[in-house]
Amino acid sequence: MSIITIERKVLEKNDRIAEKNRRLFSEHGVFVLNFVSSPGAGKTSILEKTFQQLGNAMKIAVIEGDVQTDLDSRRVASYGVPVVQIITMGACHLEAKFVRDAMKDLNIDEIDTLFIENVGNLVCPSNYDLGEAAKVVVVSTTEGDDKPLKYPGMFRNSSVLIINKIDLVPYVHCDLKLLEKNALQINPALKIFEISCFTGEGIPEWCSWLSKREIPKV
């Protein structure tokens, strides 16, 4: 038997590309958020509400990640927002190299805020740094208040939690206070917003935070 010592990070290649992305974004003053959630939590709807509120005040662009179809990027494009669609063809997460390649199709000098909408999945995207300033995890009230406990990795690695569909609270089994307690137990530094894309509640608070770019330290 002989031993070869390696001591390398398994995802070092992704991390290296992510660091390069981060440098590029910082050189151009672009604020980048990586949106993660389970499918159907409302990531695209939140982006739409954000364009409506901030469309003229910010120069926003979007990278859309989906397993199949360009339906989301068409929704985004209808607001006149520059968008690049990544179709992962089955893969459950975005990797830093996808973002690097997608940036070739965007004019970075005409952007100050970039939203990356990850593939709907609360497990896999948590491992892959894309070069973002922060991860924003979205959970909807219809998913239940125990989501943070079931998927702790994602809540631990995110800086912001958006609770969407609060207009449905009277109709679903979701205790908002308990959901927030569960999330804060895993990550006490989480900045939390309660919103409804249907009624518009909470959107101004979210947009005001977005304009300030104040990321809580985990």
Binding site: I6, V10, V123, C124, N127
Partner: protein, 123 residues
Amino acid sequence: MHELSIAQSILEIVKQSVTEKQQPDVKWVRIRVGQLSGVLPDSLDFCFSAIVSETSMSHAALAIEQVPTVSRCRKCGHRFQVEDMAFFCPMCQGTDLELISGKELEILEIELDDKENKKDNGL
């Protein structure tokens, strides 16, 4: 199932670390997986065996060391293992914690079953 792409990253690093001649001798790939890494050891093991099976490294397997989540309280200095994802200090209830371990996803070493050594041992 991101374990498959993680298994591919491991295989890529192993290939960079041994010569082509050594590849059939790779027996164990020792890795360290933290509790917070979001990686399921069983799935990773399964994916790795699946992707090496058709290669010259078909005898290679993962030896996975699981690392618990350990934190240190910045307020009172208490060091403790985080149970049930409860990120607060059991001594002072403080929530300002430094994460000491749990996020690991590293390759430590590769163990080769060298043929020359086998001869020396009379095998």
